[in-house]
Symmetry: C2
Subunit: 704 residues, 2 copies
């Protein structure tokens, strides 16, 4: 990880007045121009291969109780240019080595009348631009409150966008594909019900925002290294097609309490004429700080099963009893309560799952609903909702620990907070110690419902700081974190690789809550996954929810082959084996792929990609010569084709292909798949039929 | 403490319809009538010796998103009456044994149409009424949000009141004495500047509110057992002279998030025709739960000196360096910073104070400004403002610990939080462990500035819960707590006697910030001290602040004798010896009283009292036969007189009297005192001159 080499040079020039300054990407294809307007407003624009992709756009921050703010009257007092090029090795990832190569321009601006300085730092990579505001230590700018960040992204046209509604509290919306001009009209229907939601504007959208221009350019707007700052949304001026940053406020309506020295996160613009390049980009990771955890030996990618889908589908419950209108921890006597008979996290059931995991080489097991408090766990602004250490009477912590250990299965803890962040922080040390004591090396956190302290939001600076606090404290206890309902990731897993997963989008659970769009998984890698891996929880084999719970009429809008492919297309060091054991037992041949597929990789090759339509990726398993290919397909049947040129040229391989049958269809015939084997080489040209909402998975092993 | 005997009886009757119900105090002098209006609104009224003191007043709670709320349509479905009489022994206090004697009536109300039940529980003591709302466990009332509590206190006339402006964030206002009808006109001037303040209404006042009726009745409104609820203010309808409860909101503007089973704090109304009875009342303590700390052996009343007054007066500073515009913990290198030369908490200076305390039998020493972060410690909504464990380079924690220990002095820790409550909670365990490790048995907490999380208030339910969390966690570490800028006390020290002090009013520090009213200390015992002891920090001998710091033009509006008396009149198990050692050294004869005076008592006898004018109290030191008498006088000269009938009839005593000289005056001649000795018995009649803003102190020992 420390094998870092830097080829750098830097020079310094002082520019007088508002002369434009230009920065080019290492390959010269991206060009960023910085300038000041006549009134001293900082501006930037971006072009790709000579074509404008971001029109002249304003930069700055509006401050609270500060008429001049940090918006105009600036002069350039210093410009520093430099180049950076290094290779670094992530603790886990899609590739063994990541190149971080950019040209940088840091423009120091002085504000007339206030003598305040800010630095705007631009980093131009071959695959995109990152820039941020920095606030050096100085006398006239020490503490300040952001009323709004005023960073513009001026579009060159009415692009096609893959968007979800901007919201301070949830990211769990289905993506809508529309022209930018159509956002306003579609916004109301985009805001589907959620336990906690606060949309803010009829043209507000979330990042990562994926777009495609009329002339085939792919654009992606997001942020990197969201630390001690509010999560950024984008609000569209749909007359001029200009996006502007829209930060998540705190309870006062302020957007950020800042102290100099300090900085904002990076604002990122990925650009390519090849959609595969967007998926392959490591810019977000590169804009984050190197790993701050010294010993990372305890951080391990993992597949896991869970006592979970049975609750999601309504077959069983998180709660233990129906006896009380509400419960009070430390008061309610669960030991004497009448069990409801539907509690999933009971010792017998958990041991059944441990057996299943052990028998199939699945290393981890998550159990939800193990701890007291689920009877009335959300929607009440309840402060002391969970204590994270007290099991229900039918969950034998020690016994389960021993049993799991004897079977070689690692237990994964669940900490649902119900959004009550103070309560979680109060219990954090004891909860993590409890995990250490009972063999739990990873935690899935949850933030369902409105945030406590009330008035605050899931994505405000204060609550972003909470997630960071949990992550850093977990690292102290050698605990990996998989955060659900937390702020969407921005590459922080580079710095804290114990952040092995996040939800932060509409995951598989929505397939049991009414169903997601069949092409959902062809969009997520272009949007949600830009910031880091998602705990999407794939692997559903039984698509008819009523077979699990007669009251659940939902249908999983995917074919079985599509579900297999997700283990490859949805990159994550944490992959759930989500369905019920009995469903896997019905399809042992297909299940073999899930058993085989890796969770950590040395190489990744994006073979085909078009957001909303299809994604095909090949990955080489870490430390092996095995490859796995995944394809997810959108709403319409298609034939995927590729040359297996990623294979070693001098070797022969056997490919096992798990594909949609000809009559497969996500809705009408999702379980129609075929499995066949082929001898392949790097010259093999493969054409594979993909059903609507379908796809395929391939495992390739060297022939010996 | 467990010597409790209960003489109780209870009976049960079911009342049909809206028949009034009456409750009488044990001595029959107070009579409370409960009834329902025709629309089912609960009402109460209170009379004393046949004279109305609270006119018919409504009871109820307005709920959020609930049109009917808990306001009307009630029927009485059950009434339980009972009597309670016990004696209990406080861990520390004004008296060795407290009698808790009341008649109780618990009225269960059912709301028509909603089938919701509440209980209004009344406890009528000889010295006043307490009542609260209770929410039993039930199906139709589980979680609810209070929009406003609608408890009325209908006055019988335009009483004289001793009030401070209602405010969600500060209690540090000077008392105003006026008619109720004058509050509105005086309100603006009552709201003097504070670091954090949120007044809410032109007729809003705080509790404990002291009043006197035209016919000489004393009335006091406050609350008891403020746990998991918002602090109550009172808002006056000054047309009808009706006070109504006005709770402190959270960031959403809501007044409380409730769960049944649960209850509100007690609302208290003390009534007497003798002002001394108000001071002697133990009703607030009695309405709190018995002690919940099993082993209380580590809780000890204490006198303490402090590296404090020199910072308050501006002679020295809390901060260590002036080198940085702001500091960041973990980043700023204090070890290499240039010291400002004014830092009070340096080892040499601290050792000087340890010597002073040791030489004079003062058991404790507080040191403020010992830990890094004071350079920019408030006013910036700064989250990570202190870590509570990192000393400045010139404060030798271990060395000071050893030195203090060798001198028999107990160190008192200071934890200023700057209102950043989350940050404090994050560091609480480590901070308390650090105290345990370094010989600190008590902590003074501080909450200067606006609360973080922003949008919340010092007295909201959420932040009240924070103070309680700190108190309970401190108990786990055997740490005593003296909370400054926290919510005013409500008798919780009965339940958690490690709460040995609170500020929660305008303390002595304001004498160095421009001066308090000379009669301030004749009001505080009737208002602020109703809820519990105050860390008033008395004992100032040098009244001219410019002698300490030429830039400070403030004058302490008290005579030296008055300052001595405060150790007796301002009951507290924690008494500061506040002035600089060199000032005490100038007046060794007067200082003798401070050295002698006790901090824990077996008996207390209120001899004279009139709010705003004078208070005289005699107290018998715990486990001894020594008595101490204190008198504080208001704005005008007066002769105090008393018979020492509290002394044992068959004994002779020597009284040492520390009194104002004839020419003493708080403004022009504050240090004019005389000390003389007298032989006294229980029959001695003593008349003592008291200067404006003056008073006297007496120590009485048995003649042997």
């Amino acid at each position: 990880m420390k094998n870092i080499f830097i080829k750098g040079f830097l020079w310094l020039l002082v520019v007088q007045g508002a002369i434009g300054q230009q920065l080019k990407s290492p390959n010269q294809q991206l060009v960023m121009d910085f300038s000041l307007q006549n009134n001293g407003t900082p501006m930037y624009q971006l072009s790709f291969k000579g074509k404008m992709v971001i029109k002249p756009s304003k930069l700055g921050l509006e401050l609270k109780n500060d008429a001049k703010s940090l918006l105009h009257d600036f002069m350039v007092v210093d410009t520093k240019n430099s180049t950076f090029d290094e290779n670094w090795k992530p603790v886990w990832g899609e590739v063994a080595t990541i190149r971080n190569h950019y040209n940088e321009m840091a423009v120091t601006l002085n504000q007339k009348g206030t003598d305040r300085q800010i630095v705007i730092r631009f980093r131009l990579f071959d695959d995109g631009l990152g820039f941020r505001y920095e606030f050096p230590s100085q006398k006239n700018l020490v503490y300040f409150t952001i009323k709004e960040e005023k960073t513009q992204f001026a579009m060159t046209g009415d692009h096609k966008a893959f968007w979800i509604a901007g919201d301070y509290d949830t990211q769990e919306y289905d993506y809508i594909t529309s022209k930018l001009s159509e956002i306003r009209g579609l916004h109301k229907q985009a805001v589907t019900p959620n336990c906690s939601q606060t949309p803010f504007s009829e043209t507000g959208v979330q990042t990562a925002l994926m777009m495609k221009t009329a002339d085939g350019l792919y654009l992606n707007l997001h942020e990197a290294a969201l630390i001690n700052y509010a999560c950024m949304h984008l609000n569209l001026d749909d007359k001029n097609m200009v996006f502007e940053s829209w930060l998540t406020p705190n309870a006062n309506g302020d957007k950020g309490d800042m102290q100099a020295p300090g900085q904002t996160p990076w604002r990122t613009i990925m650009v390519s004429n090849d959609a595969r390049q967007i998926l392959a980009s490591k810019m977000t990771l590169n804009l984050n700080e190197p790993c701050k955890i010294e010993d990372t030996s305890w951080i391990k990618p993992i597949k896991y099963a869970g006592v979970w889908w049975e609750m999601i589908t309504g077959k069983s419950t998180w709660s233990y009893t129906n006896e009380f209108p509400s419960v009070q921890l430390g008061v309610t006597n669960f030991a004497q309560a009448k069990p409801n008979g539907t509690h999933g996290a009971n010792t017998t059931n958990v041991k059944k799952y441990i057996d299943f995991a052990s028998q199939n080489g699945i290393e981890g097991l998550l159990v939800e609903g193990w701890n007291v408090g689920w009877e009335d766990w959300f929607g009440h602004a309840k402060d002391y909702v969970f204590d994270f250490v007290t099991p229900y009477p039918d969950f034998d912590v020690k016994g389960i620990h021993q049993y799991a250990q004897s079977k070689g299965v690692k237990m994964i803890m669940h900490h649902e907070t119900s959004g009550s962040t103070r309560n979680y922080e109060r219990h954090l040390d004891k909860a993590f110690q409890f995990m250490n004591d009972n063999g739990y090396g990873a935690v899935k956190t949850g933030y369902v419902g409105n945030i406590v302290p009330v008035g605050d939001y899931h994505y405000s600076q204060f609550i972003v700081n909470h997630y960071q606090h949990v992550l850093e404290k977990a690292a102290q206890y050698h605990i990996m974190v998989n955060g659900h309902e937390a702020v969407r990731p921005t590459g922080i897993c580079r710095t804290y690789p114990n952040l092995i997963g996040n939800e932060a989008a509409r995951g598989t659970e929505y397939q049991a809550f009414g169903g997601s769009k069949p092409n959902h998984v062809t969009i997520l890698p272009f949007t949600r996954l830009i910031g880091g891996p998602m705990d999407y929880t794939p692997g559903i084999f039984e698509m008819d929810m009523s077979k699990i719970n007669p009251d659940n009429k939902s249908h999983v809008n995917a074919t079985l082959a599509n579900q297999l492919a997700l283990y490859v297309t949805m990159y994550s060091p944490l992959q759930m084996v989500s369905d019920l054991p009995e469903h896997y037992n019905r399809f042992p041949d297909a299940f073999q792929f899930i058993k085989d597929v890796a969770v950590d990789w040395d190489e990744s090759v994006y073979l085909e990609a078009e957001p909303g339509d299809y994604i095909t990726v090949a990955r080489k398993a870490k430390g092996s010569n095995n490859w796995f290919v995944g394809n997810v397909n959108g709403n319409y049947a298609r034939t995927s084709s590729m040359v297996l040129s990623f294979l070693d040229t001098n070797k022969k391989y056997v490919a096992t292909i798990y594909a949609d049958a000809k009559d497969a269809h996500y809705k009408t015939n999702p379980q129609a798949y075929k499995i066949y084997k082929l001898e392949v080489t790097s010259k093999t040209n493969l054409a594979q039929y993909c059903a609507p909402g379908g796809g395929y998975a391939i495992s390739i092993t060297e022939k010996k």
